[in-house]
């Protein structure tokens, strides 16, 4: 059975391609040398599949909701919230529920305020922290020179300081591999300096675009490699497109030479530009539609698969994914880690 009985727009994930991507990643970063990031797919069933195939049970999360959902799904072997949170109430509740099922939670901290939140939350159970270090991306993370003081604050507050993390997000998407490699080295100089002040057994960095350019950190955080998108496709990585938005042609304008399908701005993360219709040309998108200039005739009612430009915000728009192997529908998985 295929997917044509399911409502479009529809996330379709080819598990054969996912498996090839997981294997390609594991060939370079086996087991816990890769901390797979659930933010890219927000699906606990897919996370469980990653764990089963690779043997790695350490995961990265971007939101409290993602950590909560992973704990609820029994995937709490080693969860890192790789972002700062100021929500002491929810973090405390999460820590308590994790403790009740033996899940392990670590959170990023980069300031006295975030250490204080972690300290309050740790009254609910054991909570570890990583000191988040700014390695060049204009986002979170303390200066390397401040990392030791933050670790001291955390230890004084009774928190277990596991080590350091730093995300070179300004580097991961550049198509020039040698530039990426040089930049990773420079970023990791900053993280290494911070680690010298902080200590701890965990050194964590990276992303899909730099997964094989790290020679110092113990673990790489990557998520997009599982499903991929057109932005990462330009980098020539050993990962292929595993996720598509299936869409139905709803209107054909033969006179002006375009067709319209039912997947629009509300079906795709648009920050990396337009999605790609394989074999045709994307004209533009509106809320519920994509207008396509076809290379070959398309008829009303026909289905097509469209490749997202940015997988993470695309998955965040859909409630479920059709899981296929080739042409066969094998399951439907909820995208259950959405929202905050």
């Amino acid at each position: 059975m295929g997917t044509t009985h399911l409502t479009t727009p529809l996330v379709v994930i080819d598990l054969d391609v996912v498996d090839a991507n997981l294997d390609a990643m594991a060939a370079v970063r086996p087991g816990d040398a890769l901390r797979s990031h659930v933010k890219a797919h927000k699906c606990t069933r897919l996370a469980a599949h990653v764990a089963e195939r690779t043997g790695s049970r350490s995961f990265c999360c971007a939101t409290l909701r993602e950590v909560e959902g992973m704990v609820e799904a029994g995937l709490g072997h080693d969860l890192l919230l790789a972002n700062e949170t100021l929500d002491a109430v929810r973090l405390r509740r999460l820590v308590a529920s994790a403790a009740s099922v033996g899940a392990r939670v670590t959170v990023a901290v980069d300031s006295a305020a975030t250490v204080e939140v972690a300290a309050v939350a740790s009254s609910g159970g054991p909570l570890a922290v990583l000191v988040d270090v700014n390695v060049g991306l204009p986002r979170c993370g303390c200066a390397p020179s401040d990392a030791g003081a933050i670790a001291d604050l955390a230890r004084a507050a009774g928190l277990h300081v596991r080590g350091v993390m730093g995300y070179e997000g300004h580097v991961v998407g550049n198509p020039d591999r040698s530039w990426r490699s040089e930049q990773v080295a420079a970023c990791m100089e900053r993280l290494r300096e911070a680690h010298g002040r902080v200590g701890g057994e965990v050194t964590s960095a990276g992303g899909t675009g730099t997964f094989d350019l790290h020679d110092w950190v113990g673990e790489v955080q990557a998520g997009s490699y599982v499903l991929m998108d057109t932005a990462y496709e330009q980098l020539g990585l050993p990962f292929r497109q595993a996720a598509f938005i299936e869409s139905t042609v709803v209107s054909v304008n033969e006179h002006d030479g375009y067709v319209v399908a039912d997947a629009g701005l509300k079906s795709f993360g648009m920050d990396h530009g337009d999605p790609m219709v394989v074999g045709h040309r994307t004209f533009f998108l509106s809320d519920e539609h994509i207008t396509i200039v076809p290379s070959s005739p398309l008829r009303v009612g026909e289905r097509m698969r469209i490749v997202p430009a940015h997988i993470d915000p695309t998955m965040a728009l859909h409630t479920h994914a059709a899981i296929v192997r080739g042409d066969d529908l094998v399951d439907v998985w909820p995208i259950d880690l959405r929202h905050w």
Copy 2:
């Protein structure tokens, strides 16, 4: 009580501003001269509020899910699905459930295939159609010269043909009011030609950017005027920003002069560009973060309100909205018409 106990990122809607926007619209297009579009907010509670304040009970929907949800919410006085659907199974089920509660459903058709779907669905109960006419936007809609034949097909299939619609979506966002006005006239020439062939009592067109530029159609379809966004703000319309994304500052980088808050690409529709942080400058967004160059000091834990660039896909990302009047939280409404 304010909103600070609610998790961020958080949709906040100021109902005082909504009311002012509804009144400004009703001053020009009172009652059913305005068919309010729920796609811009996807919230039945807000739709009910619109109906209560304006006395208008005719609504526009963009998806089957929106029509289904409006019927379930008892808001089915006169619902127009202003897009084509090929899903005969779901449309038939919807028509049957609408019939069981006395709701009235009309769908857009622009081809023999979409007429056939409507005809199949009408075995579930009464179903009317509007012939959707292409008035210049490269999207759905038949040529004016084909509209009569499609109406004939529909009538032959036993459907009630209520009239015509045509959306000048390529016109509504242009800041030049006189250009918009000229273009509306040209577009409505096409719709008028089609109406001559189709007949029927309904003539429906327009959007927020052209709400007061129509002198021929019986009703204007508009949605963004209720909540507004930065894109429409540039047009100098008599509507103000009523919706914001409330966000928490999670990191402050004093050395480099920026701050990071917890609302990113997954909190905003990004197709119209970056959202606007009132009083500060948006630097860039990543999945869960906005990096801001502040004009005045911001501290970790502080909350701020950010204006979406495009309200429709922004609302589609959130489960609920905090409803305020000024500084007071008055309710929390589910955004219950999301997905498809």
